[in-house]
């Protein structure tokens, strides 16, 4: 075999199609199937945004942040603050306030992520047990601070008027907001891939995933790279939190802890550290959640656990595991 020729591994990428093909006959009606599938793609895009940072930080830093869910909630609450002051009415103002909410969530979460990384994570690099414990502690503190600041009742976070309503194609109705979320999720996915493949910081991240020591020996400060990536991961969680909050029309302090379970399933299925795997895993989890939610609502989460079991039995390190370390 000539060097450089690497057969692309396409089989995992086909799994969402397989899942959809299996579910279709059980669902029966085509409009329902299409609606569910579009809803899944949107939910998958949001799950991807929420999970991507976690998997990125794990791949590079070997740190699994059990407080990642708390950043999702922080992002959603940051958006409620922006929406309190934002004007609304026209399409332009709605779009502007949406962008402002995303930006605010990213900035706030990035900043909280900076403090969190320096204070909690930096002292326990390389020690998984302590990492799990201390990030659980961190998630409790952030969640309780949200409760203290914003009260115990969920806050309203309805999508602006421009994103409400649905587009109707014959018998098929597609909610506008779902398309917005899907578009943004795909955009962020493409951006992440571009950053990883085309920029020096992306090269450093990919190199650091393989060999942190050699990156340092080439003259780069790996600890600063860690902090930067952790901030980016937190900001992504915050952006995901805004998207999810608007989807659910509310911000709740406990929302992150609930989502963390799905996020974990996503990154385990995708392969810890892999951005593409994360995107696929998020889509799969969302498809199962929606199809099962329609066919057997009570078993939706259990079905996703079974999906995780099935994927891991097939590929013990997930769909797209990172290259050998």
């Amino acid at each position: 075999m000539t060097p450089g020729a690497r057969r692309p591994d396409l089989l995992p990428a086909l799994t969402p199609l397989i899942v959809a093909a299996i579910a279709a006959p059980f669902i029966g009606s085509l409009p329902t199937f299409v609606t569910l599938t579009v809803a899944s793609l949107a939910m998958g895009a949001m799950l991807f945004v929420m999970a991507s940072g976690l998997t990125l930080a794990f791949g590079l830093m070997d740190v699994l942040n059990f407080g990642h869910g708390a950043f999702i909630a922080v992002g959603a609450f940051a958006a409620t603050v922006v929406y309190q002051f934002a004007p609304h009415g026209s399409l332009a103002t709605d779009l502007a306030s949406f962008v402002a909410a995303l930006a605010a969530a990213a900035v706030v979460c990035g900043f909280v992520g900076y403090v969190y990384e320096r204070l909690l994570i930096a002292p326990v690099y390389g020690r998984h047990l302590e990492q799990i414990l201390i990030t659980i502690g961190g998630s409790i503190v952030i969640e309780q601070l949200l409760l203290a600041l914003f009260g115990t009742e969920p806050l309203d976070l309805s999508p602006p008027a421009a994103f409400r309503g649905a587009l109707v194609f014959g018998q098929i109705a597609v909610e506008k907001y779902r398309l917005v979320a899907l578009g943004l999720g795909v955009l962020l996915y493409v951006l992440l891939l571009l950053v990883l493949s085309r920029t020096r910081i992306g090269l450093l991240i990919r190199a650091g995933v393989e060999n942190r020591e050699m990156v340092e020996a080439l003259g780069y400060r790996i600890d600063r790279l860690f902090t930067a990536v952790f901030m980016a991961a937190s900001a992504l969680a915050g952006v995901g939190g805004v998207l999810w909050g608007l989807y659910q029309s509310q911000a709740r302090a406990g929302m992150g802890a609930d989502l963390l379970v799905l996020v974990f399933i996503v990154i385990i299925i995708g392969g810890l550290g892999s951005v593409t795997g994360c995107f696929l895993g998020a889509t799969l989890v969302a498809l199962i959640a929606n199809y099962a939610g329609f066919l057997a609502p009570k078993l939706a989460l259990v079905c996703n656990i079974l999906l995780m079991v099935a994927v891991l039995l097939w590929r013990p390190r997930g769909l797209y595991p990172l290259g050998a370390k």
Binding site: P3, G4, R6, A217, L218, G219, R221, I222, L322, G323
Partner: protein
Amino acid sequence: MNLTLDGVHTHIGRYHILQGVDFQAPAGLTTMLLGRNGAGKTTTLRTIMGLWRASRGAIRLGERRLDGARASDVARAGVAYVPETMAIFSDLSVRENLLLAARAGAMDEARLDWIFGFFPALKTFWASRAGSLSGGQKQMLSIARALIEPRPLLLIDEPTKGLAPAIIDGLIACLKDVKERGATILLVEQNFRVAREVGDRVAVMDNGRIVHAGEMAALAEDAELQGRLLGLSLDSHQ
């Protein structure tokens, strides 16, 4: 620039690996670091590089103290490192590996051509994933990474391990040329033929200490000294 180690001790966990290493790698020369397996050669290079922390002693590059500095600062002081494991980034292409090593941001085309002269395979597989290269090609890439920008000091750990003789010849030519251009080289090598051909000075380690230092040519002449210091006739395991 001279590299000077002065009473350097290194502990790894509860093991005391380097127990007072003293030697000098004079500027513009190639110094061989020889010794049995486990003598502490790799640990010495890693300690100079800042990848292990010296618990005692001083490491100087010219006037500058390197001990206690982070590996990234040692690298920025002008030290390039080729580890025994090669440590190429297998998920990155050959080009990307070299791009990262060029901290200036862009690669100098003329210098790149000079490197291609010794290691033509790197040009052939320029856009390939580094992980798909052969063992010898990976070694070339690892050395090329250390050469892509001029550095005053090169630390190279067993570059000829597992290489075919033809490639070794290219490597020898390359090391000689690098020295011609003014770099100081500290080379750990098991292959005595290579050591004899490229080495100006030699330091022999045993049990975490330097047990002999002198001219490489003198050691190459003295079979009795070789046998005593290195425990075996190195020529025999070529």
